[in-house]
Symmetry: C7
Subunit: 284 residues, 7 copies
């Protein structure tokens, strides 16, 4: 019984001793200081980011698009970083360091760390796509086996839509190799098949005349050619003569269709046959 009395006495002594109160007051002062510093840090960082991206006066709409994305991303990143530091410091005032908590949940931490790595990779790759201007909204690109027009570039995913209306949503971390089809002029390639019995130089001449006509008719989209390259292939049933032209990127599919139709029609006029598959029959 008396021991319990002793216990109570000890506890009450602890509460009234001045060093404890001294500690409490210092702690409170520290917390107030941290909160003020946090408030100020937030304002300062947001203003800084705003200024960094405003001071640049480029006309280039691609850069604008990039800057506006980077600005909002940086702002939230810095905001969460400052929150995180403030919480950590307040916890430290109470003598609680976040390290042991995270560490004590070691297995969970390991799993989360590994599971989240693809998320981090998405963001890092997304940042470089924006920063290096690999492609912008409106470009026609080919990535990870699909192709289409870029609809949206985000930090985590990129969205591209093909002509059929399929919207491909691709995590940036999966984008390894980008093929941008609209970075420059594109080459249109049409192989005109003629019969083996046909005279090559005659067919070439016909094609060259046609090329000149088409060049004039479509001079607004054609940058160079079309011109006849020569015999591309001695194929199984035909001699293939290659015709190429350089055009505005998005016009390439259209011009290819025009070239095919015009070659077919001109060959019909000039009695140059486009051969079917041939087979030589030996009877036994």
């Amino acid at each position: 019984m008396e021991s319990i009395m002793e216990v109570v006495t000890q506890l009450s002594q602890r509460i009234t001793e001045p060093q404890l109160w001294s500690k409490v007051i210092i702690a409170l002062l520290k917390i107030i200081g941290i909160l003020i510093a946090t408030k100020f840090g937030l304002k300062f960082s947001q203003t800084m980011i705003e200024r960094i991206f405003k001071s640049k006066e480029d006309d280039d709409r691609y850069t604008k698009q990039r800057n506006s994305t980077l600005k909002s991303v940086l702002k939230s990143a810095v905001r969460y970083l400052i929150y995180f530091i403030a919480v950590t410091m307040i916890l430290a005032v109470f003598g609680i360091s976040p390290a042991p908590i995270l560490a004590s949940a070691g297995v969970v931490g390991l799993a989360v760390g590994f599971g989240a790595q693809s998320l981090v990779k998405d963001v890092i790759t997304g940042f470089f796509i924006l920063f290096e201007k690999q492609f912008v909204v409106g470009d026609y690109i080919k990535i990870v086996g699909v192709d289409g027009i870029v609809e949206e570039i985000g930090l985590r995913v990129t969205k591209i839509k093909n002509f059929d209306g399929d919207l491909h949503i691709i995590p940036n971390g999966k984008i390894e190799q980008v093929t941008n089809l609209t970075s420059d002029l594109r080459r249109v390639v049409v192989d005109a098949p003629i019969e083996y019995e046909q005279d090559i130089s005659e067919a070439t001449e016909v094609l060259e005349n046609l090329c000149q006509e088409i060049n004039q008719e479509y001079e607004n989209i054609i940058a160079e050619g079309p011109k006849v390259l020569g015999v591309q292939d001695l194929a199984a049933s035909s001699v293939n003569i290659r015709v190429i032209a350089m055009v505005e990127a998005m016009e390439s599919w259209g011009l290819a269709r025009i070239l095919k139709q015009r070659i077919k029609e001109r060959f019909d006029q000039e009695d140059i046959g486009i051969p079917y598959n041939h087979l030589t029959i030996v009877n036994k």
Copy 2:
């Protein structure tokens, strides 16, 4: 013998010394405090989560669907987190920190951490699918090689069912690249094959007339077209003329069937043949 007496004396002294009891009482007070804080923390967090998702008054049914999923998920996540912290703190009162236990089972922990990473990846990806509204229940999507209508989006798995009734259950972590086929209008593509002997402009005219008729008949589902694009391919035995149309996403398969049947019937009327494979025979 006397040493044993001494031992007993020592043990009894220990039990009766006041500092021990002082410790026991403080421990009990701590535990009670922790339990109360846990109770309060649980209530507070649940109410907070409820309020966060209620305050938003969007009509968009997609957002509602997402919010209801996120709400229930967040609630259980926070609940288990609070339990975990409470248990850890109570163990700490008894001088048992969970870190060494987990660490002492280091090999097991390593294996579990690695084994569980795909589970974590499932949840992280699932969260982003919900958060970024990549697709919602009812969309027709294509992922990891299968396609179908989305039946259910969960944090760990997504379920899609194809027209044949196959229910695909896919862990979210395996979903890398999503193709949403119903995010917008879809393009219907039909290549009408005509014989090489056929006049292209005549066939094109027939098709254009047909297109106008179909446009009027099915104007409720057709957004644009159908229209004739031109010569898509000088194929082995036919000249292929491409016809395209933009329609409501889920009507695209139906309109493709209609277009094929109508083209066939119109070609029959106009005596335009659809060619079989051709082979030129050379006899030796």
Copy 3:
């Protein structure tokens, strides 16, 4: 020599000093306490698990199957965990902590940890398959490239047997994407090929009449249809008309066979030919 005497004296002193014996007795008391706690903990946990799974009174036989598996699994898991803690605590009484032992075998531990991760992944995935009721024994599923009827779902492996009698034993960790073919009704798809010379509407009418007959004859297994969808394909040598029907999952293969036979026989009656491959020969 005298130094040896001194040594012996020192050793004997150690053995007889009371603090040593005090320690031994406390250690024994601790061990007894641990053993009792272990016994009690085992009983308590087993009873708890038994109660958790008994209290649920669902009729659903799938839930029963799952619960019985989870119950036995949980019981052994808890049992081994309690044994492990008890052994660790007893070792700690002797001042031996298992951490250094495992750590001292660090290289071995690393290898075991990595080697065992696929085992852990098997169990985690197995748990979710059971918990989320992705499939149950008797379902016809398709996983990792094989398909068949589920024979057994375990925590580590799943066994499925196909119609040919092949028993596939698949570690759960390898099961990424599950396709359950018997979760609902299935669609039967038969493409009826007709000749290009055939009138499409006539053939469609014949098929529609047949569909009505079949619908009545097999109404017990057919949920919807069969009905004629339309021209699916203008194929190389035939026009394919698609017929579909919704049936009980396991009856789909049977109905497909019936539909094929009936279409063939009806076409024979109506003199609608099913075309062979066609080839147009051009002689030179």
Copy 4:
């Protein structure tokens, strides 16, 4: 010079001081104790393992085979574990802990740990193959793309030999998905192709008669059937009628050969032709 004298004096004092000798004697006693404990531990564990596997009196020869493998494996595993612990403890007596040695060779350890993980995975998988009786010696299985009769199941590798005499030696860790073809009866499937001009019901009747005959002739190996399933396929040049039968696993290949020969001979008798590929020729 005098300082050297002092050194020698110091050294000689060290050697003669009784505490040093006391330590030496205790160390020796400890080592003797460890050796005796090791001896005893070895005997005890071996006897225990022997008893565990003897006490089970199952007739099942598969279990016997598994137990004998597990017994010898467990014996060596325990033996090496006890040796390892003994050596560690003796080293500890000399104040040498193996942990720093392994750790000091950290880079090497890392490389070995990673390099050895596939070895560990082999053993873990091997253990489960034995424990779960996924297959036994004599079964015909299909794993990692090869198939054959199991010759030997070890902890590290499994050996299977196909009918051609190829001995496949497969590390267990590579065995992901096992297909056991001889766990039960097997289904024999033969698709009998008939001409499109042939009457299906007539051909079906002929096949059904044949099936009855074969069922009686081979009743010792046939468990069920053969029976005619129906029209499996309206193929390019033939209508395929499926015949199936359930037989003893190892007899399935033989019965398939018999079925094919008998169907061919019966069709010859009944003037039902088996069609070659068909091609419809259109002359231009």
Copy 5:
């Protein structure tokens, strides 16, 4: 109350005690020292890097291109390194070491570390591509399945553009195996097919004459040949005779076209037929 007085007294004592101020002054001196050292270090390192790359007086434009890239990269790398060290040292003055901060964010750090590894790999590989001069801007190379002319070599990505205008942007870390097609002369290979009935030596002679003519006509681009190698293949319908030539790398595609056209025309003149596929018909 009096205890609070005591607290205040304690706090005021702390602030006025000289050792505190002594510490503050030393800290300030340290910071100034660090800032001066940083300034100097920056200048010194930049000058050093400038000098290292200037002192080399090679004409080789490839080396210049490489040096200019490496110089700017090294400069920023060293600059950020010096900044990082300075910040770390200033933090250390305040008793804050960055290690715990990073470590306390352990899970995040793990994820970032893993997610960033592919970025590091990009830079390391990029450095070696530049350093080993594997290819330079203007080379025609083949990497990771695409080929084209190198447009730009950066530390993180390499850009190559093919003849069709596709711009491939490839992270350097994905470049495993580089094939440089323009490092030297290239071989042009044309297989001339002749009929089985044709005399091989006659055809060979015709080809050899043609080769001599072409060698003279195109001697500016041809380094060796063309020459007839011999019978490359007894193919299904033709005997193939191989003709090869060594030419300037970028001229190889052009010469191949010329060779094909000239062989076809010469064969026409000499009545040597290029055979179609042959089929021997056996009538039954």
Copy 6:
């Protein structure tokens, strides 16, 4: 100035104090002891290894080959291990532990550890190939997609040479699944195609007679058969009858050639045709 005097005094005092010299002498004695122990340890271990492999008196040349490889490998492994321990212990005498050095080069260590893991895997797999006698020099094996006769089995690489003279050098770590073709007799399989019009039993009889003749002519290499298995396949244009035989492993390719030639010649004698591909022509 006087402070410098003081410094010098302090330094000189240090050098002359006896405890320093005492330490130096002990250190030297320790080093000598270590060197002697190393010498002895080396000799002892080498002799032991020599004895272990000599005491076994098996005739089996495979075991000899393995033992000689393992012996030389073990000798160098033990030698380098002893050197490593000696150097570590001598460094420890000077108070330098290798752990911090390796650890201080942590980043490098990590990279080396990961980079070297495939080397370790090579050696571990190589050891097991030797130990388990999966194959020996002279065997014909198939690994990682190549096949040939084993030329050399090393701890790091295995060399196999195929009949064409290609020497495949394969790191052991890449050897996952080994197929040994010469571990036993091999089965020769020849499918004899006959025409559909041919009587199966007649052809079977002819083949059985031939098999008996061949069995007698080549009885030295044939272990069993050849015998006729039956109708293996109702193929597109032929009925295939399977003939099999068990022969010495390396004779299998030769006997297959003989069987094919003899079947062809016998069929010619008996007027049994080997059919070409068949096609049924329907004229329209």
Copy 7:
């Protein structure tokens, strides 16, 4: 104010106290010692490496090539290692250990460590390729899907150039399986197709005669054969008779061409036809 005086006093006292200067002098002495040791260590190690590789007096040019590469590599490796140790030791004199710096940059270190592992793997594999003489400059090898003549073997990359002039630059770490085609003689294989109507023994005799002639004509490059192996294949339209020969590795492609031409010409003389594909036509 007075407290500041106190501070200044304290600081000045520190600077003048002799123990500080004692430390500074010892530090300087240590640094000088380290620099001298470094200088000496460099010289010594370089001389040693030079001697090791000079003392071997082999004529073998492969070994020379290898030694010269290894020598220069070892020299730089040792040089950088010594520099690294010297810098570490000097930093340690100032009380700065590099470990915390690297560790404090933990996230960066992790990323670098992982990113650099493929570089380390390149060097390790490169070392073994040189050390084991898997191939030397001038050999014709096949690695990672490409083949060509080895141009250069480095520690990080291997360069091989194929006959077409493509220079393949392959990081050594990607070289898993090497196929050396020029390690020995090569086998030339030509399958001579004859008609099914042709007598096999007659054709064989003709080929054997031809083989003898060729053996005499090309005896300088032929090591063995050519000889007739027998009927390799009863192919769809021909009986293939295999002819093989062993020749100098680089002559194998040439002799194959010669064999094909000569077989064709001899068959023409002897009226043995080389058959086209055959098809048996059944008219309906």
